[in-house]
C-alpha cells in the first residue's frame, strides 16, 4: 500500500469509435497526499472528467495504473466506493424526495447502519445549514442549497476522500463562497482529502495544490503560489483608446514577453520595470494612442493559466512542425 490518497501513473484512456481512436487521458501521472485540497484545472476537453472517472473506477482504463487510498481503481471498486464520496458534474438529486429522504436514501445506498444514521444525518444537516429545510423537496431548493445537499449526501458514509467534478456550476457568489468555506471546514476539522475539477481560477487559488491538465497530460503540478511564480517577467495593465493598434504595438515591442487581452484592457508581461513601462508610454504616445490606468499588477492564477496553456500549445505546434521537416 502506498501513502497517497489518490495516485495515477502513466494513466491512459482511449475511446474507440468505428472510425477512430480518441485519447482522452494520455499518460497522466499525479499523486495527492492525505489532507490535501487538490484542484484539477485545464481547458474544456482536456480530460478532467474522464481522469476523475477512471481513477474512481467508473470507467475502465486502457493502460497505466491508478488507485485511491491504495486500492486499485479497477480491482478494488467496492473498497473505493466505501471510502470515497463523489459528486458528478451536473449531478442531480432525486427531485421528488425531501432533504431528509435524500439523506436516508444515500445512507441506504452506502449501507450506513441505523445508529450511525441517527448520529450523522443531524450532524451533516447542521454542517450544510439545511436543518430548517429537512421537509423540503430537493427540487424546490435553490441552486446553492442543492449543491450543499449533494455534498452532505456524499459525506454520509464518512469518506476519507471526496472527488468533486465542477461542483459549483451555476451557483451564485454567496452560495459558492459558502460551499468553499464548507470544504475548508472539512479540511481543517476532519483532515479530509479533497479532489476538485474546476474551470474557475479563483476556486483553484483555494486549493493547496493544482494540477494543470492539457490534452490528457499533466503539464504543471504545484502550489498556486509557485505556479504564479513560474510566469516570467512583471505584469503591466492599461486601457488603450485603440485596442487593436495597441495590441499590435505591444506584441512587436522589445522586452515584451507576452500580451493577454482582458476585456477592454491589455495585460503586458515585460522583462523589467520601469524601463519598459516608460518605453510603452512613449510608443503609445508617438502612435497617438491614449491610455488610462497604466500600472503594475500581481499575476493571478487566471493569467498564469492562460500563459501556461499558450506556451504548451506553441511547443506542441513547434514539435509538430519539426516533425514535418524530418
Amino acid at each position: 500500500m502506498n501513502q497517497f490518497a489518490i495516485s495515477a501513473t502513466n494513466l491512459v484512456k482511449e475511446f474507440k469509435t468505428n472510425q477512430s481512436v480518441v485519447t482522452a487521458v494520455n499518460g497522466l501521472s499525479l499523486q495527492v497526499a492525505p489532507g490535501e485540497t487538490y484542484g484539477l484545472i485545464g481547458p474544456d476537453g482536456a480530460g478532467k472528467t474522464t481522469s476523475t472517472r477512471v481513477i474512481l473506477g467508473l470507467l475502465s482504463r486502457t493502460r497505466g495504473e491508478s488507485s485511491v487510498l491504495g486500492f486499485d481503481s479497477m480491482q478494488d471498486v467496492y473498497q473505493i466506493r466505501e471510502r470515497v464520496g463523489y459528486i458528478a458534474q451536473q449531478f442531480s438529486l432525486p427531485r421528488n424526495l425531501t432533504v431528509m429522504e435524500n439523506m436516508l436514501f444515500f445512507a441506504g445506498v452506502h449501507s450506513v447502519s441505523i445508529e450511525q444514521q441517527r448520529k450523522r444525518i443531524p450532524e451533516l444537516l447542521t454542517f450544510a445549514g439545511l436543518n430548517d429545510f429537512k421537509g423540503r423537496l430537493a427540487g424546490k431548493l435553490s441552486g446553492g442549497m442543492k449543491k450543499k445537499l449533494a455534498l452532505a449526501c456524499s459525506l454520509i458514509h464518512e469518506p476519507q476522500v471526496v472527488m468533486l467534478d465542477e461542483p459549483t456550476l451555476g451557483v451564485d457568489p454567496v452560495s459558492r463562497r459558502e460551499f468553499w468555506n464548507l470544504l475548508g471546514n472539512l479540511r481543517a476539522e476532519k483532515g479530509l482529502t479533497i479532489f476538485v475539477c474546476t474551470p474557475y481560477m479563483d476556486e483553484a487559488e483555494r486549493c493547496t495544490r493544482i494540477g494543470l491538465i492539457y490534452e490528457g497530460k499533466l503539464i504543471v503540478d504545484d502550489s498556486p503560489a509557485n505556479i504564479k511564480e513560474m510566469i516570467p517577467g512583471r505584469l503591466l495593465e492599461f486601457t488603450p483608446s485603440s485596442f487593436a493598434e495597441a495590441l499590435k504595438l505591444c506584441n512587436e515591442m522589445e522586452g515584451v514577453l507576452e500580451v493577454q487581452t482582458y476585456g477592454e484592457k491589455l495585460h503586458v508581461f515585460v522583462d523589467e520595470i520601469p524601463t519598459r513601462e516608460v518605453q510603452i508610454e512613449a510608443a503609445l504616445t508617438s502612435q497617438g494612442i491614449a491610455y488610462d490606468h497604466l500600472r503594475e499588477i500581481q499575476v493571478r492564477m487566471e493569467e498564469a493559466f492562460i500563459s501556461l496553456i499558450r506556451r504548451q500549445k506553441e511547443s506542441v505546434e513547434q514539435n509538430a512542425m519539426l516533425g514535418d521537416v524530418r
Binding site: G35, T37, G42, P43, D44, G45, S142, G143, G144, E166, L169, G170, V171, D172, P173, V174, S175, R176, R177, W180, N181, G184, N185, R187, A188, E189, G191, P199, Y200, M201, D202, E205, R206, C207, T208, S223, P224, A225, F243, Q260, T261, Y262, G263, E264, K265, R300, E302, F305, I306, I309
Partner: protein
C-alpha cells in the same frame, strides 16, 4: 429623483429603469429600482439567485409588465412599444439556444431569417459572424459537436445577427474555460467600441471586474451602483487580512473558536489554499490580537497582511448587509 434628471438621462441611456417594481402576489421581486446604462457601456447586473436580476431583464425586454414604474430601451417604453424594443435588442441566455442538428452557418441563417434579413444581408452576416466566432473552416460542422467556447461565440453571433444597438447577455459564460471566456470578453468590448450598449449578468465576480460599471441587486433592491474601483473603496464593510502560518488547518480551528467566544470580532474566517483570509472591522486594530491568539496556541505566524478586497468580497459584504438588517 427629479423629472429633469431623468430627461437628460433618457437621452444618453439606451437602457433605463425608472422606479421599476414587480410584485407576484404578496412577493415583491423587484422593488423600486432605478438605473441607466450609458451608450456604448458594458454594464454588469449582479445579484444572488432570486434577487430579481432576471425579472428586471424581463421587464426591460417587455416580456412581463411592471407593477409600477417604467422600463425603456432606446427610448421605447418596453411595456407599450415591445415590438420596437425587440427589433433593436439582442438577447443571449446561458442555455445558448442553438440548434445542435444544424451547422454553424445554418444557425446564423435561421436567426437572420427570424429577424427578416434579406438574402444578401444573410450572406454577408454569415461570413462576418463565422469570422468573429473564429469558426472559419468549421462552418459546416454540426453545432452539437462544437466545443463550449465556439458554441458560446456562435450563440452571441446569432443574438446580434440583426445588428442590435442594445444587447442583453444572461450568464453567457457559465461552464466555459478561462481562455474561451477571455476571447468572449474581447468580443463584448469590440461591440461596445462600435457603440453597442451591453448589459451582462454573471455569477463570477472575477469576470464582473471587467465591466465598466456594475449594479448589485439583492432582495429586489438596488444596493450599489458604481465602477468596480469605486465600489471596492466605498462598499466593503471591514477589511481583509491574509494570514500565513505554520499550520493553517489548526489556525482556522483556533480562529473559529475565537470568533465564537467573541475574543476577536471576525466577520469571516476561512481557508484559502495554504493561507487564511479573515475579515475584521479594522485591520490595524485587530492584527495583533489575531497574532496573539495564534501564538498562544503554538501556531507560528509568518505574516498577517491587509490585502485589497476582491469584487467577490465586496459583493458578499453588500448583499449580506440588507439581509442582516431584516
Amino acid at each position: 429623483m427629479s423629472a429633469e434628471l431623468f430627461t437628460t438621462q433618457n437621452q444618453d441611456s439606451p437602457i433605463l429603469a425608472q422606479n421599476l417594481t414587480k410584485r407576484f402576489g404578496t412577493f415583491t421581486a423587484v422593488d423600486d429600482v432605478s438605473f441607466g446604462v450609458r451608450s456604448g457601456e458594458v454594464f454588469g447586473w449582479l445579484g444572488p439567485n432570486g434577487a430579481g436580476k432576471t425579472t428586471t431583464i424581463r421587464m426591460l425586454l417587455g416580456l412581463i409588465k411592471p407593477t409600477s414604474g417604467d422600463a425603456f430601451v432606446l427610448g421605447f417604453n418596453s411595456a407599450r412599444q415591445t415590438k420596437l424594443v425587440h427589433a433593436n435588442v439582442g438577447y443571449m441566455s446561458q442555455q445558448f439556444t442553438l440548434y445542435s442538428d444544424l451547422t454553424a452557418a445554418q444557425n446564423i441563417r435561421f436567426y437572420g431569417g427570424v429577424h427578416g434579413l434579406s438574402n444578401d444581408e444573410l450572406h454577408q452576416r454569415i461570413a462576418e459572424i463565422i469570422q468573429m466566432a473564429g469558426l472559419e473552416g468549421r462552418e459546416n460542422i454540426l453545432t452539437g459537436s462544437l466545443s463550449g467556447g465556439w458554441k458560446q461565440r456562435l450563440a452571441l453571433g446569432c443574438a446580434i445577427v440583426h445588428h442590435p444597438k442594445v444587447v442583453f447577455l444572461d450568464e453567457p459564460t457559465a461552464g466555459v474555460d478561462p481562455i474561451s471566456r477571455r476571447q468572449f470578453w474581447e468580443l463584448i468590448y469590440q461591440m461596445a467600441k462600435d457603440g453597442v450598449t451591453i448589459l451582462v449578468t454573471t455569477h463570477y465576480m472575477d469576470e464582473a471586474e471587467l465591466c465598466q460599471r456594475v449594479g448589485f441587486i439583492t432582495g429586489g433592491k438596488l444596493v450599489a451602483l458604481d465602477s468596480v474601483g469605486q465600489l471596492k473603496r466605498t462598499q466593503m464593510r471591514g477589511q481583509v487580512l491574509e494570514i500565513n502560518v505554520s499550520d493553517p488547518e489548526k489556525a482556522v480551528r483556533i480562529l473559529k473558536t475565537a470568533q465564537q467566544n467573541h475574543q476577536v470580532p471576525l466577520d469571516e474566517v476561512a481557508l484559502y489554499g495554504a493561507q487564511i483570509h479573515a475579515v475584521v472591522p479594522d485591520a490595524q486594530e485587530y492584527k495583533d490580537a489575531i497574532q496573539q491568539v495564534l501564538t498562544e496556541e503554538n501556531v507560528r505566524v509568518h505574516s498577517i497582511e491587509w490585502i485589497a478586497p476582491t469584487l467577490e468580497d465586496v459583493f458578499i459584504s453588500s448583499v449580506k448587509a440588507p439581509a442582516e438588517q431584516n
